[in-house]
Structures are given as structure tokens and as C-alpha cells.
């Protein structure tokens, strides 16, 4: 019995070490910083070239898409990253609407190569993953869009429109 126990412990340890090594190695190469537009713009830490995930509101007029080359560029404006702040400000739908209309907020240009997503439109929330290039353009590798009206958002706001 004791002998088996020792064997078991050794086996568990070996597996645990292998798993931790796998996790550390992959974590290191896949780390991604979640930032807001203004955090990225402020330049407190130089994020150029680092793997960043960022969320902002799409400005409809800035969308340029070339279906031949699949080059897509558009601007997004700052929205808060914290759910609580968004809630205090009246919910995501309202935050997006206000942010899109407020020219004083920091903005950033995003470039993406690929099929233009169906939900890319004015006041949609864009969640992009990629990195900032030397020209200050965000080169997105992944582009995810959410429209708060897509599911329910606060009904009175929607109805009020």
C-alpha cells in the first residue's frame, strides 16, 4: 500500500509539473492586455507591437471597406472598460450612443484585413485584438462586434429613441 502511494504521489507530481510548464509557456506567448482607447492613446506605457485587446464604439462615417482587397479601416472612440461605470452611466446602449456623438473623446483608427462583419455599423461596440503599429494605427487581427440592441438592453432607453 505504501509503495503504491509513493508511486501515485510521484506520478501526480510529474503530471502537475508538466501541466504547469505547459500553462506557463503558453501564457507567456499568448498574453494579451485589455485596454481602453484612452489608455492606449495616453502612451503611459509604450504598447507598440504588444498584443492588445481593446473595445470602443464604431464611428459609422469613418468606415472604409475595399471588397477587393478586404482592407477595412474605421475609427473607434473611447468607452469605459468597467461594467460598473457603464451601468452607472445608464447602460451600454446609452454609453455607445453618447461616446459616438462626443468628439472630445480619444479616438483611434483600426485597420483589419478580412470580410467586413455584418454587425459593423455606427454605434456598435467593436472589440479588437491586435497591436498598435509605428504609425499609431491599430492593426487588428481579430474583430468582434456587439450591438447592445442585439439582445435586450435597458428597454426605456430604446423605447425613448
Amino acid at each position: 500500500m505504501k509503495k503504491t502511494n509513493r508511486k501515485t504521489i510521484i506520478a501526480v507530481l510529474v503530471i502537475a509539473v508538466a501541466l504547469i510548464a505547459l500553462l506557463i509557456a503558453t501564457t507567456r506567448s499568448s498574453t494579451q492586455y485589455f485596454l481602453t482607447v484612452s489608455e492606449l492613446r495616453s502612451g503611459e506605457v509604450d504598447m507598440t507591437g504588444r498584443n492588445v485587446r481593446m473595445s470602443g464604439v464604431v464611428l459609422g462615417d469613418s468606415i472604409v471597406y475595399d471588397p477587393k482587397t478586404l482592407d477595412l479601416t474605421f475609427e473607434v472612440a473611447q468607452i469605459p472598460g468597467d461594467h460598473r461605470i457603464i451601468k452607472e452611466m445608464g447602460g451600454m446602449a446609452l454609453v455607445l450612443e453618447k461616446a459616438a456623438a462626443d468628439p472630445s473623446l480619444p479616438r483611434i483608427t483600426i485597420h483589419y484585413n478580412g470580410v467586413k462583419p455584418d454587425l459593423l455599423k455606427h454605434e456598435a461596440q467593436a472589440i479588437v485584438s491586435g497591436s498598435l503599429d509605428a504609425n499609431g494605427i491599430f492593426q487588428a487581427k481579430e474583430l468582434l462586434l456587439k450591438c447592445p440592441s442585439k439582445y435586450e438592453s435597458d428597454l426605456p432607453n430604446q423605447v425613448g429613441n
Binding site: 501541466l19 498574453t31 450591438c147 439582445y151 423605447v159
Partner: protein, 671 residues
């Protein structure tokens, strides 16, 4: 109808509450058998709950726009089936529906297999149910109405939010998001919910065993069918989601490691592990503690998955957005976790089981390895999921992991798992039998090596894809060879095959997983795509195919959207093989369009086309065409998994004795 729905729902919860209180009194008197009155109350609760769900559905179909939930998910032109299923299209409705599935499961457990519910397990089932019922009643009420105040403001509330306000039904419905208007929406959510909910019963039964301090031998027989059916539905639900995601482009391909997808996969890993170790507990009387841990963990992970979906903590395409029930769900997850840990710690000694692993190459050991890999996958996925949350708390700025993390960390584990499945039929009980069985592996081994070498020269150079291909081919051929071996005289073989259907069912499941792996190799390693802009008459080449653009059509066939379709002819080796109509649905009032891909599906793979852009004035279109070889093996594999599990489930638990298998092995080694 509002009153009917709300009152029947409230009364249903009240009945359940009374049943709960009665149960507590019973338990104080140390009576663990449920009385008739408790069972009746629970059944009444289920009946009323059902009535209330049907009422909400009816209000959706009848477009009762005084109900704010109806306003948000239904509009006048949606087909009736979508109007009905919109009940799980939004936060409040789907939470309400989830509560009902729990009640349905409780009802089944009380009536179909009566012995499963004693006082303690009923107590926990009812508590879980009441928790979600209370959330629906007090936080996310689906019967909440729209009110117009005297000053002209529109507010939302179950009852009048201000003096003088009146119920207002003047807002026409927004309708379900176009991306959700798909067959996937009709079947994927409820199947997944039922799969999730069925795990409640094993969880509560296990809790009850721990409280009563029973040794846990009976646990297996009682919960096996629940676990198997839950596992079948969970598997089907996950794959249906993947198929939907592939069928419409908007969700980002067949699998994207989206937090919600990942969260539903984690309980799948633990429950799959459970199915393996349950068999070992039955046959070898080992792994008892491990099984208790897995049963409890699976349900906790399911609640965690619901938390991820509903709390909006992580950004995801599926998430319902920010919500005010995240705190409640977090508390539920933590409470369940702490109760489970406390109970396990209390009864740990009683759950002792012998630990005898005679050799590292027996089937017992293979099961152990499988579970080690599954647990490792659970840890990897859970870690990847909560990493951004933890770093957010620790550092203030969130540092997350991109999806390459999952690809990199999970791929080696998946390959290990596939390898274990491939050699599974070889892992017999004793060394002697292996030597015998090893002989039958020679031909499959040679064939799969040949296949892999051929693929290397003609198909693909990626060593990773080749490795998977080899494992898949070997596993499938081995299972085929061993099955054929059983078939010396057809009639006899059929009988024996049926007698050993638990084993063959498991092989089906394994073959299904291997086929899914084959599909993934096709999608990740062999697919090719091209896009181009064409005018009518143009042709675009892709591999042995050509896509010809014929014309662009625009039609108002549906009142809600404009249908734009490109007519394409697919040519293969100079012959026209199919007409394809990729298009877009343009929802003008929403300012939104969705792409409707069209594909030619064959066993070989899919030819998938997408209308990226068009100009009806100039008459040109931009088309993306992809050749996705082997992709359909994913869906075939999933079907095989579900069928295999059902086949295994059809064998009564009692006959899953060791005897049959041992006898079988002896016969094998003698033959």
C-alpha cells in the same frame, strides 16, 4: 394573460417553497422518505410552471406588446416557430425557461424513477430551483410590463412604477436579432439547457449520499442513466452550436474558444471523465472519491458556465450583456462549491476505496490516463477562462489570453486523448490478452502508416495534421478490425454484438470523436479559399473547382428584409455540378445585414460560398469561396457519439458486470 402567467409562476414557486418547508420538517424528524404531499406539491408546482411558460409563449405568438420582454424579442413578421422560441432569445426569458427545465427534471426524477429522490436530494433540487425562480421573479421578471406615465415617460415594471401610470402596448416589437433567426436557435439552446439541467439530479443525489453518510455504492446505479442522458444532450448541444456557428458566418466559424463555448466544454470534460471512472467503480471498486468529486464538480461548472453566459464578465458573442444578476450567480457558484468541499471533507474517510492498479497497460490504467488528460483539459480551459478575471482583480488592468492560448495548450492534450481512444480497444484486462489482441492491430497499423505516408506526398506537409491523421486512421481501422473479428458467423455475431453493446457503444463514441478530429484536420489543415470580384460570366478558380457568376437578384420576399442573392454555378473538372446562391438579408429598418452563405455539401467536404459585397448598379459581386474538405465528418462524428452513448445507455446497469467482459477476453485470447 399577464395575470395568468405571473400568478401561475408565483403560485408554482410558492408550491415548491411549501414542499421545501415540509421536507425540512420531515428531515428534522429524521424522515428521509418523501411524503405523498411533498410529491404532489412538487407536481403541482411543475404544472403551474409549465402553464406559465406556455402563457409567455402564447403572449409572444400573439404579440402582446404590453410585456416588455415580448417587445424586445418578437415582431409581427417573424415566423411563428421563432416567435415561440424567442422565449430563450433574451436574458429574462431564457432564465425563466432554464428554471422550468430544472422543474421538468425534478418532475421526471420524482415520477419516472421514484427511488432517486429522498428528502435530502429533494431539498437541494428544490433549493436550486427556487434560487432561479426567485431570480426570475425579483430580478429578471419576464412578465415585466411597459408603462406610460402621466408625464409621457415610458417605464418598465411588473406593477405600476408611478402613480397614474397605465399599461402601454403601443411599441411595436423589435424582433429577434437577425443572427438568431436560424434553425440553430430553435434547437441548440433547449438541448443544451436540458443537458445542463439533467446534471442537477446526480449532483443532488450525491450530496444526499454524503449527508446521509452512505458508502456510495448505490450512487452509480441510480445516477448512471441521468449522467448518460445529460452527457448525450450536452454533447449534442455543443455540437449543434458549432454547426450553427459554421452555417452562418456571423458567429465566427465552427469553434472560436469564445468564453461561453469554452465554459460549456469544461463540464463536458468532467462528465466524460465521470462516465469512464463510474465504470471502473462498478467493475473494480476503485475511484469512488474521484467520482463524487467529478459529479459535484460537473454541476458546479455548469452553474459557472451559466454565470459566464449571463453575467457579462467576459466579452463574448453569446453573452447577454451586462446584467444585474451576476452577483447572485457568483454567490450560488461559491455556495455550491463550499458546500461540496465541506461535505466531501466530512465524509472523505468513508468514501475510501481500494486502490489497486495491477499494471500500467491494462484497461484500468488506460481509463486513468484518459481521466488525467480530461482533468488537465478542464484545468487548462478553466485557467484560460478566469485568467483575465484574476489579473483584473490583482493588477487593475486586465491582462488576458488570446485564443492562441487554447489552441496551443489544448492541442497536445487533445492529441493525447485521441491516441488513448485509438488504442483503447487494445487495452484489455491482462497482459496475455493484449498479446493476442496485438495481432489484430498489425493490419490496421500497416494500413494507417500507408495512408499517412500517402497523405504526406499528395495532401499535406504539416506534421501535426499528419500525426492526427495517423492516430485517427489507426483508431478507426482498429475498431473496424476488432468488430469484424466478432462477426465470424453473422447471426451469432449480431447477438454477441448486442450483448456487448456497452462496449460497442463506447467504440462508437470514440470513433465519433476521431471523426470530429478528422473534420478539424480538414478545416485547420486542408481548407483553401479565394475571393474575387466578378461580373456576370466571370469564372474564379479554386483547386479543381471553378465558380461562375451568373447574375445578381434582389427580392422583397420577406416583409422585413431585402434578399440579395448571387447566382453562381459551381464547376468541377469542367462539369457544372451545382448552383449556389450566397446572399445577404438586408434589414433596412435596423441598418443591419446578415450574410447567408450557401454551400455544396458532400462527404468529401463543403464548397462554401459567401457574398461579401455587391453593386446592383454596376452588376458586380465580390465572392469568397472556400473548399473545406472533411468538414462534414464533424457532424457525422457527433451523430455517432450520440448514437453510441444511447446504445451504451440501453444496457441495464446490472448487466454491466465484470463477468461478461472477462469471459469475452478469455474467449478472445483462446480463439
Amino acid at each position: 394573460m399577464f395575470y395568468l402567467g405571473l400568478i401561475s409562476f408565483a403560485a408554482s414557486m410558492l408550491a415548491m417553497l411549501v414542499a421545501l418547508i415540509l421536507t425540512i420538517f420531515q428531515l428534522i424528524k429524521r424522515q428521509t422518505v418523501l411524503t405523498e404531499s411533498i410529491v404532489t406539491l412538487a407536481s403541482v408546482s411543475f404544472g403551474l410552471h409549465t402553464l406559465s411558460v406556455l402563457t409567455l409563449m402564447a403572449m409572444q405568438v400573439l404579440q402582446d406588446y404590453t410585456i416588455s420582454y415580448v417587445v424586445s424579442v418578437v415582431n409581427s413578421v417573424m415566423p411563428t416557430i421563432l416567435k415561440m422560441t424567442a422565449i430563450w432569445g433574451g436574458q429574462a426569458g431564457s432564465l425563466f425557461f432554464w428554471g422550468w427545465t430544472l422543474n421538468l427534471v425534478l418532475f421526471l426524477s420524482l415520477h419516472v424513477r421514484r427511488q432517486i429522490q429522498d428528502g435530502w436530494s429533494f431539498l437541494f433540487t428544490a433549493l436550486n430551483l427556487l434560487f432561479f425562480g426567485a431570480l426570475s421573479l425579483f430580478a429578471e421578471n419576464p412578465f415585466s410590463r411597459v408603462w406610460l406615465t402621466e408625464s409621457g415617460n415610458i417605464l418598465e415594471g411588473v406593477f405600476s412604477p408611478a402613480a397614474g401610470a397605465s399599461v402601454y402596448g403601443g411599441i411595436s416589437g423589435f424582433g429577434l436579432n437577425p443572427l438568431l433567426r436560424h434553425w440553430g436557435m430553435v434547437i441548440h439552446p433547449p438541448i443544451l439547457y436540458f443537458g445542463f439541467a439533467l446534471f442537477l439530479v446526480p449532483f443532488c443525489v450525491a450530496i444526499s449520499y454524503l449527508i446521509r453518510g452512505e458508502s456510495g455504492e448505490g450512487l452509480l446505479g441510480e445516477t448512471r442513466l441521468w449522467l448518460l442522458s445529460a452527457w448525450i444532450l450536452l454533447t449534442a448541444g455543443i455540437v449543434l452550436g458549432s454547426w450553427w456557428s459554421y452555417d452562418v458566418l456571423g458567429w465566427g466559424g465552427y469553434w472560436a474558444w469564445d468564453p461561453v463555448e469554452t465554459a460549456s466544454l469544461i463540464p463536458w470534460f468532467t462528465s466524460t471523465g465521470l462516465l469512464h471512472s463510474l465504470l471502473l467503480q462498478k467493475q473494480r471498486k476503485i475511484f469512488k472519491r474521484f467520482n463524487f468529486v467529478l459529479i459535484l464538480l460537473t454541476y458546479i461548472l455548469i452553474i459557472f458556465s451559466i454565470l459566464i453566459t449571463r453575467a457579462g464578465l467576459l466579452s463574448s458573442v453569446h453573452a447577454f450583456g451586462e446584467s444585474n444578476i451576476s452577483l447572485h450567480l457568483t454567490l450560488l457558484t461559491l455556495t455550491l462549491f463550499m458546500v461540496s468541499v465541506a461535505l466531501l471533507a466530512w465524509r472523505w474517510r468513508r468514501l475510501q476505496s481500494g486502490w489497486e492498479l495491477t499494471s500500467l497497460v491494462t484497461r484500468d490504467a488506460a481509463f486513468l490516463y484518459t481521466n488525467v488528460v480530461l482533468i488537465a483539459l478542464t484545468i487548462v480551459c478553466f485557467y484560460g477562462l478566469v485568467y483575465p478575471l484574476i489579473t483584473g482583480v490583482l493588477t487593475g488592468t486586465q491582462i488576458g489570453l488570446d485564443r492562441t492560448f487554447f489552441d496551443k495548450a489544448a492541442t497536445p492534450l487533445f492529441i493525447l486523448l485521441a491516441t488513448l481512444m485509438a488504442v483503447c480497444p487494445l487495452s484489455a484486462w491482462t497482459i496475455n490478452a493484449i498479446r493476442q489482441l496485438g495481432k489484430s492491430a498489425v493490419i490496421p497499423l500497416i494500413l494507417s502508416i500507408l495512408l499517412t505516408v500517402t497523405s504526406f506526398f499528395f495532401l499535406i506537409k504539416s506534421w501535426l495534421a499528419l500525426l492526427v491523421l495517423f492516430v485517427v486512421a489507426f483508431g478507426l481501422l482498429l475498431m473496424l478490425a476488432l468488430s469484424l473479428r466478432d462477426c465470424k458467423t453473422p447471426r451469432e455475431a449480431g447477438k454477441r454484438w448486442w450483448g456487448l453493446r456497452a462496449r460497442h457503444g463506447a467504440w462508437f463514441v470514440h470513433a465519433g470523436v476521431l471523426l470530429i478530429a478528422l473534420g478539424i484536420v480538414g478545416m485547420e489543415g486542408l481548407s483553401g479559399s479565394i475571393q474575387g470580384t466578378m461580373i456576370p460570366g466571370d469564372k474564379m478558380p479554386l483547386r479543381s473547382y471553378h465558380v461562375e457568376f451568373v447574375q445578381l437578384t434582389t427580392e422583397y420576399e420577406n416583409p422585413e428584409y431585402l434578399t440579395i442573392e448571387a447566382e453562381l454555378v459551381l464547376w468541377k473538372d469542367g462539369k457544372a455540378v451545382a448552383k449556389l446562391y450566397p446572399g445577404q438579408h438586408l434589414y433596412e429598418s435596423r441598418g443591419q445585414y446578415i450574410s447567408i452563405p450557401d454551400k455544396q455539401s458532400t462527404l468529401r467536404g463543403d464548397f462554401y460560398t459567401l457574398l461579401l459585397d455587391y453593386n446592383s448598379m454596376m452588376g458586380y459581386v465580390t465572392i469568397q469561396a472556400s473548399d473545406n474538405p472533411l468538414v462534414n465528418f464533424m457532424w457525422i462524428g457527433a451523430l455517432l457519439m450520440v448514437l453510441g452513448a444511447a446504445l451504451a445507455a440501453s444496457l441495464p446497469w446490472k448487466s454491466l458486470q465484470l463477468g461478461d467482459d472477462e469471459q469475452y477476453e478469455t474467449e478472445l485470447s483462446c480463439s
